[in-house]
Symmetry: D2
Subunit: 296 residues, 4 copies
């Protein structure tokens, strides 16, 4: 399938690589040209403009934030101006409910199709083609993208026909992961002061009720207080949480756990932890209980 | 193995039944005699006093709260006074860190052994012999109890040699479950107001990252707002949470999630929900977002 | 002094009235002409455009929100385009730290002066010329405005030379008032369930340590559960709180009390209370303790 | 008036001194005899037993905690056993609602009278006879104590006829003060990072809306980060807060502000601040925003 790919950060590079390996015809575009090289060596083609990346059946965006996605979409020579009628913009980065809603509307007016397809998974999962892809939009458009999704993920979960709903699931899921991190942090601070080995404690939880792999993954990080290197930096975790809370505010849904987590992230960032892994919020409870701050 | 069993509530009856079925020689004692009948029909023997239930290699307590366990343990003709030297008191109910510490000490002085073995699992898991048993104490004593544990549970997790550590794991684990309930409640309130079907939303989470069965179990209850009948009543959830927070206070460990949950439980109880399932705290977020209160 | 006045809501009308009474030469402008009539009868002149209101030594804005202030300031024929060099824009409404910073910069570039002068006080205080005015900006400009401030307020508090600092004090002060409301609400819910008359309880506090009038003012409202009519509507309180939290987020200052209050406001709005007085958040604690919801 | 006085800590010594100065006939009793000396020099008489201090029209208790008050009251030769029929036990320390309820009942059965009269005020206020005394119990008994109260306080506030109600007011008031401390701490952390001088900021608040002296008192301490010496140590503030929360739990009143404060105190104690003034919780917000921890 002929597909444009815009945004070659940690996640995007890994995903585009898997598309090339699956023998899709991939045209990549990135603000900094340097990131395109490894992909070109693998067989991708480099576009010199967004418009060039849009000469395809579909164009995928995997960018840092709302501002970047809005810019490449609505710029004079951006996706909306360049994508052929009937072609599909597949938005895979974590963006706000508001922007997803706006893009769905603009692409509809332009006669293009818009699929919202954010993902669960860190860069290692992206590299292993193990992402979970949450897809919402026109079912025919999602079906058309399925060969792409299969190259990048282990599973595609259909959410509905209204694109922004996938973003709500993504933002809600991220909040839920952050809650897991915070709860493990608190409970391990308690175990620690009660004289229980943190790993023994964690194993007792993960071998019984808390069998989802993310409990082991984050539990080990917190037990070892090993918040570097950051696979997903705290400042990005904070950004995603803000998007969840902004959606909740607009919809008038109080989220006390979300508020608590926002204060945790703000504190972590204010105290110098912005480049630690976002799981470092799980180290604050131990600090509050008299232990060292996360990152030391 | 010859074993006394004190406390035949929902959990205790199911556990004692499985001991009888596994052909252990079980002597049951319960304040209200009525609960002993089905067990006697199965082949258990009824004791008319705690002392009589203590004429065994081990005596198991599975009672409602600290007060009950303390009473049967320290009464004039209680376990401490009656259990043979070298025999084992296996405390399986959810009790405080403070009481577990005290009992470990008193049994030691009396030349008896004390194993703390609280469980993860609701009555249905107890009936199916699918409990997770968290065991702490003298390894030889735990090994001696293993045939009993195998009859009641699907897995025994050794925590350490100091009995109260098992109680910390139990209390911490319960807090973690309550956090899962609250987080699902918040996030589903958000999905609901965003126009996403609650079950679709839940499936998207449980089929990807949140694969531990308790996410499905409690997620379904919250999605269906079906908080009756109560398998584990809110007032019992509140009691367990208090024990976790009391341990945290004594050890000087701030648990902001625990504090938030305590306010949720207090509110649920104050608003008439004490006989709802404890997962009804997961219905408060939807009420705060403009929906009906849990239980209506 | 010749002064333009833009924005004749509850607060603005009362403030402009006091300027006219103090014999200033007042030119009023309001989107809806109807609100200008009572002032014209008193002796004010009505402008038919913002530009006309800007033919003065100073122009005061007292508008609903950031959007309105930004619009009248930056529109094609707005204040920035119309105000004479050296004249003063006195921004008295509650606006964001970000907008105050931007306006200070734009007016500087345009050779105009900008004084940030938000106020403490509800409409009754505005009518009685009892406002507290928090003034920040060029000291000479503040001094020039002093005759206006004296006509509208009981006291002018100089905050500093950087205009946005006054907005921080205003937003911080509002947050502090909301905390007083919430704390009175919680504590009176406790007194009520302990069988103490709410007024007796309140008097015991306000006649001893909590002598600031706002404790009596809001305490009486909460004790009487009388949240209508709204002198300051909940949706406006929510708006101001958001501005405080936005400033805190940008400056990376976790405000746990602010987060808790935001959830209170969101809940009040979601449950239909947007036109209640903002002190209705002080009725939520009683509801959580088993009493009626605020507004019933 | 002939009065016994039990408990000569910082508060008790100052209060007993004022009773002696007002020419009451004071018999003092303290566990450690050393504290009685200055009072004996002033003219008090030292009792060698609780019983001896009870040979009076009234006996005042001003002790560290529930355990101490319960012990001197219910011991074999304690107040209940020794106080003449019709004489009055005036309980002035901060005790739990539960203990006040129990003592009221026991004294009633013993034919004695019980007045609950906790106070607002730190040791400096006690020394200056400026305490606020919250009195509840039989009106005739309160009237009989009025000469004592006048010697120790600036005002007696009658709360009701049921003694424990005074304790609820005391505990609620203390919680309210702690909220003031926390709110000032948060808001000054914000002002500080916004580049506003903390004292200027504080003055803007205390000279306008927040005129109660406790805002200035605690605001100055927080602005100066001067948490030593402790007039009221953090561990005592924590103890009082626990009593408030215990009463709230028993009455089923969720107090989210109280929960937040409890976590603040636990953290302060866990991080080594137990001998700082309790206002040091007001230094945590600045630390969370990237500043130094309180006490450094």
């Amino acid at each position: 399938m002929k597909v444009g790919f815009i945004g070659l950060g940690h996640m995007g590079s890994a995903m585009a690589t898997n598309l090339v390996k699956a023998r899709h015809e991939v045209v990549v575009f990135n603000r900094s040209v340097e990131n395109t090289r490894p992909l070109i060596e693998l067989g991708a083609r480099a576009a010199t403009s967004i418009a060039e990346a849009c000469r395809a059946e579909a164009v995928i965006t995997m960018l840092a934030d709302d501002a970047a996605v809005e810019q490449v979409s609505t710029a004079k020579d951006g996706i909306l101006a360049s994508l052929p009628k009937g072609a599909i913009h597949v938005s895979m980065s974590t963006i706000s409910l508001a922007l997803a809603t706006e893009l769905a509307s603009l692409h509809g007016e332009a006669g293009q199709r818009f699929v919202s397809a954010p993902v669960f998974g860190r860069p290692t999962a992206a590299a292993a083609a193990k992402l979970f892809i949450l897809a919402a939009g026109d079912p025919a458009a999602i079906a058309a993208c399925q060969p792409l999704f299969e190259a990048m993920g282990q599973k595609t979960v259909p959410i509905g026909t209204d694109p922004p709903t996938a973003n709500v699931v993504k933002l809600g899921g991220n909040l839920l992961i952050a809650v897991v991190i915070e709860s493990l942090g608190e409970i391990m601070a308690l175990a620690d002061k009660a004289g229980i080995d943190r790993h023994t404690f964690l194993d007792a939880l993960t071998s019984t009720l808390f069998t989802a792999p993310l409990y082991s993954l984050y539990g080990e990080i917190i037990a070892d207080r090993k918040f570097v290197p950051a696979e997903f930096a705290a400042r990005l975790g904070d950004k995603d949480l803000r998007l969840a809370l902004a959606a909740a505010r607009d919809l008038r849904v109080p989220l006390p756990l979300g508020s608590l987590l926002q204060d945790r992230f703000l504190r972590l960032l204010a105290q110098g932890g912005e480049n630690l892994d976002w799981s470092a919020i799980g180290g604050l409870a131990a600090h509050d209980a008299g232990g060292p701050p996360p990152g030391r």
